[in-house]
Symmetry: C2
Subunit: 504 residues, 2 copies
């Protein structure tokens, strides 16, 4: 590598320290901050955001960057650069381009608007008053369209928005994947609805000591391989994961006494994210090679552990005896009955409560709506009616109000349009990774049933975690599995699992 | 105020945000950081220290500052400036002067040395091996002498060191105060030793549920006026207080099952610091007027609450019934007997275990030694022998080893020479403040006995907290109490209290 690249990397490592400090302030805001400190916390964060933005886009960084790449095209100036170096420089340039292409006034306006609109959304949702939120959402859609114009795109502005979360994945590709996925899922859902096997999970709504829930969750994720000397779990209103550095990865959750599933599967979900963050290559910390491949790949890791591993029968063959020690109320329930309870399929109004079969359908609905908004095929004021019509189409359900309907997610109020597809793509990635892991690891499910998670984790580390952002998500999938991304592994996985559970 | 001063204040407010972020990273290091993240945490802190130092001393700040003061003399350039403005500018200049007068290489060397020597001290102390620590302490003493030369002084280099912690207080003044204090304390101690009243506090070493200790401590400090919506308490190895901002002040402690006094009085001590931080004028946040007057004044607030209020009989008349509810083991002990237990006087080898009567003597011993080190009247290698000789002189005790003797405190390993006097001055300030408060507030001890702390807190707020750094500590004492600082109120306070307890 040439000297300028080394200087560039040193700067990036400094930026990453600043970002990790920013992340700590945000983590503190969600965990331990006294309630009266909110205003000052916003001031700290505004100062840090401006500082970090300046580090990424300011003259000192630009001056070094322009010595190694053409700032307009991203072309690497050193013709002797090898493939790896070219990829690294492309990513560094791309991040710079995305950070610097938006005018400062646009960044400030958007930040101010989304900060306001999140508060308005929370109020509008609480009061079931979409009209209150409407003018803010209209502005957000407008600004997202402008944002797409700034970023640039070939086919449709939605491509530019999605690129922030799922680099290299086009709207057309998602449409094609979702189309096949949709018919497969609806077919399976129809069979389940018509099955004579009626499941009942009321037992999981009994009283479960919250301290025991907490302890059991920690026990499980440690067994999965979450390194407690390099991470921790705290309480927050909404579960999240923050990786400050591979040696400091923190997850959060909340615990409900009358819902045993909620905290446990949230802990495992976040631990899936956290294992990825703990497994990122520490020597590349600060550079793109030390970062996660995409939001969807991140989601693949959390969903793999949460759904495909922790909602599998072999997993519970191992953990159920321990769970019964924590909760004697389960003593009379067989592991097979428990397994069915946690996998009950039931179309619901709320995305985050959805089961594995219906979850991706919630995403498709949002994807269809977001495209229409960005392509000016829909006025924001028509949103509630369209939402309800699509809920009817997908789930044969009608939201009683907008709170349970179009206003349920925080994402739009944050200005995150183009993010939702990553969730469903995460399912597809996960299933395709799992299929390959099962093929690669002899007696895969036997290792899970014996509580031997290290072999699988090692596989994920080598194939996915240590790769950082070396590959775009679709290339990573091809490279790891030898196959192009397809909805088939996910549909196969679901069909096999639910045919057995629902005796289809 | 002129425009430049406003620009200066805006910069200072930004600096304060950066410092509050640095403080959060340090707080996290002592409370929730996973153990494996230590190295990365050091990197975050090194980056932040450099950033904060640059903010305080860099060109952008200097350029604004030199428009309002003469950088060499500190003289205010605007001849129309009023008294308050002059004081503010003097303090801003002084902080700049202290931050910028040390060459960068010196700052880096000192920082590196003290970071190393703290680790060596911890090891040397654990292994009772002073020789291991010796070369580091020699270097620290050397560098502190150099530091004093950089800062400048009129009479003795020790003045320059103390100025960092207790502005405006000279070595000679401390010598004079300590001389009177010493004879008074030794006289009282002698009487106590010869008293027929033998106290026994073994009951406080029984088993006390740690969760109950925690809850009781929080209950008491909330009652004292600690605003839990603008602060919190967490666990750490050593208790400390951090004020990020008046709306976010956090204290820490540790709890021992077999020592009921330790956690409780540490919580009250830190709450005393915290009440000061919560009471600093929020509109001046970031400027010297929004900061504490000195380390000693800070210590006066913690010691006032910890010793003079929370070890008083009226305080326990109010809280003892509640304490007995938490700990039924105390049911058969009268409040008067309990009061005597928590006030037992017993010379000890360890400063932090010392009672109110002997505590200041521990400080004097250190003050005498530090002066000799800085004035080159003592080789560091002779330290252990001198320490032991002084322990004999003051307490008639001989440390069994250097671990229990000269190596007990972390301060010297941190390069903090000149800090110890602030602890004893804190006692003097506290007693003089208390005397005035008792005179100002009708039925002072009755309000305490009724658990009405708001009146006293309001008094502290008005007289001390909202003043920030408007006054140097000695001027603050004169302004609040109408009297020059004297050891008499403290000696009177102790004599009255312990004559009664020990029936002298």
């Amino acid at each position: 590598m040439d000297d300028n690249l080394n200087i560039l990397i040193d700067l990036l490592k400094k930026h990453a320290k600043a970002e990790s400090v920013q992340a700590l302030v945000q983590w503190d805001q969600e965990t331990y901050m006294p309630e009266g400190a909110g205003e000052f916390k916003s001031e700290q964060l505004a100062w840090l955001s401006a500082l970090v933005h300046e580090m990424h886009t300011g003259e000192p960084f630009k001056k070094v960057l322009e010595k190694v790449v053409n700032l307009y095209t991203g072309d690497v100036l050193n013709s002797n650069a090898d493939k790896e170096e070219k990829r690294l420089l492309y990513l560094i340039w791309k991040d710079y381009h995305y950070a610097s292409v938006l005018p400062r006034s646009f960044v400030e306006d958007f930040s101010f608007l989304t900060s306001q609109s999140q508060q308005v959304w929370a109020k509008a949702r609480a009061n079931n008053d979409f009209k209150l939120f409407l003018p803010y959402l209209e502005k957000i859609v407008d600004m997202c369209k402008k944002q797409a114009d700034y970023y640039g795109y070939k086919t449709t502005p939605y491509d530019a928005l999605m690129e922030q979360y799922e680099p290299g994945v086009t709207t057309q590709q998602v449409e094609s994947l979702f189309s096949e996925l949709k018919s497969g899922l609806l077919e399976l859902l129809d069979k389940i609805k018509n099955s004579n096997e009626k499941l009942d999970d009321h037992l999981l709504k009994e009283s479960f000591d919250t301290a025991h829930q907490w302890a059991f969750g920690l026990e499980v994720i440690e067994k999965m391989g979450f390194d407690m000397t390099k991470g921790r779990q705290d309480r927050s209103a909404h579960p999240f994961t923050t990786g400050f550095h591979p040696t400091d990865v923190r997850i959060t959750t909340r615990v409900y006494e009358n819902d045993m599933k909620s905290a446990f599967f949230s802990t495992v979900h976040e631990a899936g994210h956290a294992l990825y963050e703990q497994g990122l290559p520490v020597e590349h910390f600060g550079t793109p090679f030390g970062q996660a491949a995409s939001y969807g790949i991140h989601e693949s890791q959390s969903r793999l552990w949460e759904n495909m591993i922790a909602k599998s029968l072999p997993f519970w063959h191992y953990f159920y005896p321990r769970l019964k020690e924590y909760f004697p109320i389960l003593q009379k329930t067989s592991v097979e009955a428990f397994y069915k309870m946690i996998n009950m399929v039931k179309p619901s109004l709320i995305r985050i409560d959805a089961d594995e079969v219906t979850y991706s359908l919630h995403i498709m609905l949002r994807f269809e709506i977001e495209k229409m908004l960005i392509n000016e095929e829909l006025n924001v004021s028509e949103l509630p009616d369209l939402w309800n019509a699509k809920m009817k189409e997908y789930f044969d359900l009608t939201p009683p109000d907008d709170k349970m309907g179009v206003m349920q997610d925080v994402h739009w109020s944050m200005g995150s349009i183009g993010y939702f597809p990553s969730y469903a793509l995460g399912n597809l990635y996960a299933a395709q990774f799992l299929k390959k892991a099962v093929a690669d690891i002899p007696g895969f499910w036997e290792t899970i049933q014996m509580g031997e998670f290290a072999i699988f984790l090692q596989w994920l580390r080598e194939k996915i975690h240590v790769q950082g952002r070396r590959y775009n998500p679709l290339d990573l999938v091809s490279s790891v599995t030898g196959q192009k991304l397809s909805p088939k592994p996910f549909l196969q996985y679901l069909n096999t699992k639910y045919h057995e559970i629902y005796k289809l």
